[in-house]
């Protein structure tokens, strides 16, 4: 493990940014934080979490896939894929780091999504342990330890120092590139902080939430629950939950006519939208109840069924704070039996 004084942080960022594009949490000028490209003058914002998840580093909100030139009856196709640049993201919380594993199982399973894979290969994640988890946090429900975040490098920030531990080859390489700014240290301070954070987690209001009622094989038991009606009743279908969610990965593919050709692009989509499953001859999910149920069944039953029991929620709490009608996965889980008595 290596450490540096917090006063060295700007120099550390500058050193990393010499050979990589670096993103750090900074003010979004709207009371929240967002991952922002670091340059001289950008201040690191000591925040619990960013408003939007960091998923768009690997799975951007919109991205161009290919280009066509149409001349009369003829079509020319252009592969416009480019290798991603090297980049580093600093300050990713344990929940969000776990979300990358969940996305990997979708995009890196056969057939590999090369757009995603390229960014994943070129991105280095420096995570950051939590010290002040919020009341909306429930990552421990999904087996995540906020005091031990994964990533290429794990980081811990105390009052006066930053501690860094490389977990992967990419992490080791990056850490050795800033060796001059850091010094070798033991993990005593980190362990003390971890202990404190874990104690806080146990006292949080959502500490009793469990996944016991969910997982693969529960489809028929939960699908027809009478609870869905009440739970989904007020859902506006706005899709905010899916946009802030670090694990939501549904996408749409659309064509844009530039006047000089056609760009086929991919953009985030949401199972909460009425047109998501609409076909020329009908719609398999006609009501908001069906669409609402799909979202939560996918995270709590379908995804784990297809992925060795791994749930597609990391307990980051974004949907809890952003849903305009205050409906969220915690309420759904509790209603369907997911709370320890």
């Amino acid at each position: 493990m290596r450490k540096c004084s917090l006063s060295v942080l700007p120099a550390l960022f500058a050193e990393i940014a010499k050979s990589n594009t670096l993103y750090i949490p900074a003010s979004d000028n709207a009371g929240g934080a967002k991952f922002t490209k670091w340059e001289e003058g950008i201040q690191y914002l000591d925040t619990l979490n960013t408003v939007k998840s960091p998923k768009d580093f690997f799975f951007p909100h919109t991205e161009d896939l290919m280009e066509f030139k149409v001349t009369g009856k003829n079509i020319e196709l252009f592969d416009i894929r480019e290798e991603s640049e090297d980049f580093v993201v600093f300050g990713v919380r344990a929940c969000d780091v776990k979300s990358f594993d969940i996305l990997d199982r979708v995009f890196l399973s056969d057939p590999v999504d090369s757009y995603y894979a390229s960014r994943r290969e070129h991105g280095v994640i420096i995570s950051l342990a939590c010290t002040r988890p919020a009341e909306t946090c429930f990552c421990t429900t999904f087996g995540i330890d906020p005091a031990t975040p994964a990533g290429d490098i794990s980081a811990w920030k105390t009052e006066d120092a930053l501690y860094l531990q490389a977990n992967t080859q990419k992490g080791e390489a990056l850490l050795s590139s800033v060796e001059a700014l850091t010094e070798e240290c033991d993990s005593t301070d980190v362990e003390a902080q971890q202990e404190k954070t874990r104690k806080i987690m146990q006292k949080l209001p959502l500490a009793n939430l469990t996944t016991d009622s969910f997982g693969g094989g529960k489809t028929l038991e939960l699908f027809d629950s009478p609870k869905w009606d009440e739970l989904s009743e007020a859902c506006l279908g706005c899709g905010t939950c899916t946009f802030v969610c670090p694990t939501c990965q549904c996408y749409d593919i659309k064509d844009f006519n530039t006047g000089n050709g056609v760009i086929r692009y991919r953009c985030w989509d949401s199972c909460m939208f009425s047109e998501f499953t609409k076909m020329a001859h009908g719609n398999s999910r006609l009501t908001q109840l069906e669409r609402f149920r799909q979202r939560f069944m996918h995270k709590l039953v379908y995804y784990p069924e297809n992925n060795d029991g791994l749930f597609s929620c990391v307990g980051c709490g974004r949907c809890l704070s952003k849903c305009p009608i205050s409906m969220n996965i915690v309420k759904v889980m509790k209603a369907l039996g997911g709370e320890k008595k």
Binding site: V112, A117, T219, F223, Q249, D269, T277, V301, Y302
Partner: protein, 277 residues
């Protein structure tokens, strides 16, 4: 990077023939610009066709894999992409990618069995691939029965091929029906599920059903009444798709994605899925 395979990137294809099947169904013949098949497929698999600027959609490949020269798609005019295709002429280029999905088990479970194909309307399109595959390898399969129904005699897809080829094969029986009486039609009149019950097939057959969802539901019910087990009945499904490889997240029924776990399902497998199709 550009050498890396990417399933979302199609190849260019060209329409070399357009056959008018019914007032709203046309069959398009597609090859690559250098005259070859775009890729090999198995019976029941699908392909994504697109017109840049119009859209991309999934279609079942109606030609048999044994056709070495081209692929065919029987397409009903019912939405943006299909409307556009219906006004396309020979020589029009499009894009094609695939094949997608789990095919019919023609080389395993179907081998040596008596086969009963039941189709309604455009539902014949995916079954034609299997029927012609089984006709090609005729000795590998037992008796073949085909029950096919449509709204009217003008709506029977592939009518010429059915009458001129299928009905002339040895050990193949074709049973056609239309929904309502029509001048010039001396065949059976009535809905497919009822006709299946009237015909009363031997329950040792393996059945393959495709048609509108309502037709599939009632036909399956009729089959069960006749004494068939759901393990003997296969169907092929269709839901909205964007990627074709189980990633875009919309064609699932429970934990199964129609694009990769289907489109072919054995009917007992559907019982384990929620009723959301």
């Amino acid at each position: 990077m550009n050498t890396r395979e990417e399933t979302l990137i199609p190849v260019v294809g060209v329409i070399t023939d357009v056959r008018i099947d019914t007032p709203d169904v046309k069959t398009f013949r597609v090859v690559t610009p250098d005259g070859k098949k775009a890729f090999e497929h198995k019976p029941g698999q699908c392909a994504m066709l697109s017109i840049p600027g119009v859209g991309e959609a999934m279609f079942s490949i109606t030609s048999s894999p044994t056709n070495t020269e081209f692929m065919e798609f029987s397409i009903k005019k019912c939405g943006c992409v299909t409307d556009w295709l219906h006004q396309a002429e020979v020589g029009q280029q499009l894009t094609i990618r695939g094949p997608y999905g789990r095919p019919f088990p023609v080389d395993t479970e179907f081998k040596g069995k008596d086969l009963l194909f039941i189709a309604g309307g455009i539902g014949l399109a995916p079954l034609r691939s299997v029927i012609n595959y089984c006709r090609h390898y005729r000795d590998e399969y037992g008796k073949i029965d085909i029950v096919y129904g449509s709204r009217s005699m003008d709506d029977l897809v592939d009518y010429k091929e059915i009458v001129e080829e299928w009905t002339k094969d040895k050990n193949v029986d074709v049973h056609l029906t239309i929904d309502r009486e029509q001048e010039g039609w001396d065949g059976h009149v009535g809905f497919v599920p009822n006709y299946v019950k009237e015909l009363g097939f031997d329950t040792n057959k393996t059945a393959i059903i495709c048609g509108p969802p309502i037709m599939i539901k009632f036909t399956l019910q009729a089959m069960v009444e006749l004494g068939f087990n759901k393990e003997q009945v296969y169907t092929t499904m269709e839901l909205r798709m964007k990627c074709g490889v189980g990633k875009c997240g919309r064609c699932n029924i429970g934990s199964k994605y129609v694009c990769k776990d289907g489109p072919v399902f054995r009917c007992d497998e559907l019982d384990e899925l929620p009723d959301e199709y």
